[in-house]
């Protein structure tokens, strides 16, 4: 039973009321998560001016946000535990920018941003790594053969309704289209994925159209 309302208070009230009738214990955990989320919002508002999280924010597992870059998390995001990890966002430079959209379910996601990471609405994540560059400490790279411009941090854009599987790594300059699915253990290395495709493999090549997979079932 979903109530789409402009006022967050009405939505939360409806959730609480339905939970009270169906499962009182779950309602308690939801309320506790909301309170914990509110504490997080207030802490980041006061202590770190570069982090902005919008109410309501449901936190079931620890949230760690480090670094001087800008972080913005939109409404109704929830952090469930996944492989015992909560959300971890680390920005490595002051011009780094991380934007997360509405209604995201962020499990054990680790975001390491040097340049720009944008995650749009309704994205589901698991224990995975979204990293803007190959190496977090590029200045310590001493290998002489490779052209360092190839290893420069890119920007990652993950569109609406993407499902990021477990134990996968999304590295450097990826663009993942709407409704796509990233399989477990995949490695997206500078790939651009078209909308509604399935990405698998390490490194991932040849994303498969999901329509075809659904067609095979019938």
């Amino acid at each position: 039973m979903k109530i789409n309302s402009k006022y967050p208070f009405v939505v939360i009230l409806s959730k609480i009321v339905s939970g009270f009738f169906l499962k009182p214990r779950d309602m308690a955990t939801v309320l506790l998560a909301l309170i914990r989320g509110t504490f997080n919002i207030v802490y980041f508002r006061l202590a770190r001016r570069n982090v902005r999280i919008r109410f309501p924010f449901f936190v079931y597992q620890k949230v760690t946000i480090l670094g001087r870059g800008k972080v913005f998390i939109d409404r109704y995001c929830s952090i469930h535990p996944n492989v015992f990890h909560g959300l971890c966002i680390v920005t490595y430079s002051s011009w780094a920018e991380v934007k997360i959209g509405k209604h995201c379910s962020l499990g054990g996601l680790t975001v390491r941003c040097h340049n720009k990471v944008e995650i749009k609405d309704r994205v589901m994540t698991a224990y995975s790594l979204v990293q803007d560059s190959f190496f977090n400490h590029l200045e310590m790279l001493t290998s002489k053969t490779h052209d360092k411009t190839e290893l420069n941090p890119g920007s990652i854009c993950i569109q609406d309704n993407v499902w990021i599987g477990s134990h996968c790594c999304i590295i450097q300059e990826s663009f993942i289209g709407e409704d796509s699915v990233i399989a477990t253990g995949a490695l997206c290395l500078g790939t651009s994925v078209r909308p509604f495709h399935l990405v698998s493999g390490s490194p991932s090549i040849r994303p498969v159209m999901i329509e075809k997979i659904l067609g095979l079932r019938r």
Binding site: R112, H137, L141, T142, G190, T191, S202, P203
Partner: protein
């Protein structure tokens, strides 16, 4: 100098003094800087070179550098100017890391530790010549990668994040994937095409 660097230097000096008194099997070079916990266990020999830096993983407070040896004749040799960011190194035979390497949040293991038999005992047929791990000079290993037994990585090689290295890699290549394959990239007008050699 930063206070952080100062504390790291002090921690390094304390670690070196502790090793000299209590653990004579660990030899530490000059100017070791420890920013997050360095955990060393086991009866084997460990030699750490000069100017090494030991960091943790930024954002995850539970990860630190571990250098474990499982046998008295095991040997870990870390070269000069090596940066370890939460590397987990576990040796049964010998692991050698060259100079100026950069190792991020990955695991290096010298052995399978268990056999595929039902009893899961120590694996047979594991000999030092087959299982030792050698990383060359100026090697860079990305996050969340695993380097398995018997792997020799040449100088100046870059191993990308999330890769699992099962075979020897030559020098001056870029390898990524599970299993790690050498990659040659050609970019054309915004869409990256990756060929696998």
């Amino acid at each position: 100098m930063n206070t952080r660097d100062l504390f790291a230097k002090i921690r390094g000096r304390l670690f070196k003094a502790r090793c000299r008194v209590f653990r004579k099997n660990i030899i530490v070079g000059h100017n070791l800087m420890i920013y997050r916990k360095l955990d060393v266990r086991g009866p084997g020999r460990i030699v750490i070179g000069d100017n090494c830096k030991v960091y943790g993983v930024r954002g995850d407070f539970h990860q630190y550098v571990t250098l474990y040896t499982h046998r008295p004749d095991a040997f870990i040799r870390i070269g000069d100017n090596v940066n370890l960011f939460g590397a987990r190194i576990s040796a049964c035979f010998a692991i050698t890391i060259g100079n100026a390497a950069l190792i991020e949040e990955s695991g290096i293991a010298d052995s399978d530790f268990h056999s595929i038999d039902r009893g899961r005992e120590s694996p047979e047929n594991e000999v030092k010549e087959k299982c030792e791990v050698v990383l060359g000079n100026r090697v860079s290993i990305g996050s969340r990668s695993i380097i398995m037994k018997g792997v020799q990585i040449g100088d100046d090689t870059i191993v990308g994040p999330g890769s699992i290295v099962t075979r020897t890699l030559p020098a001056r290549v870029f390898a990524i994937g599970n299993p790690a394959r050498v990659l040659s990239r050609t970019e054309s007008k915004g869409e990256t095409i990756i060929e696998i050699r």
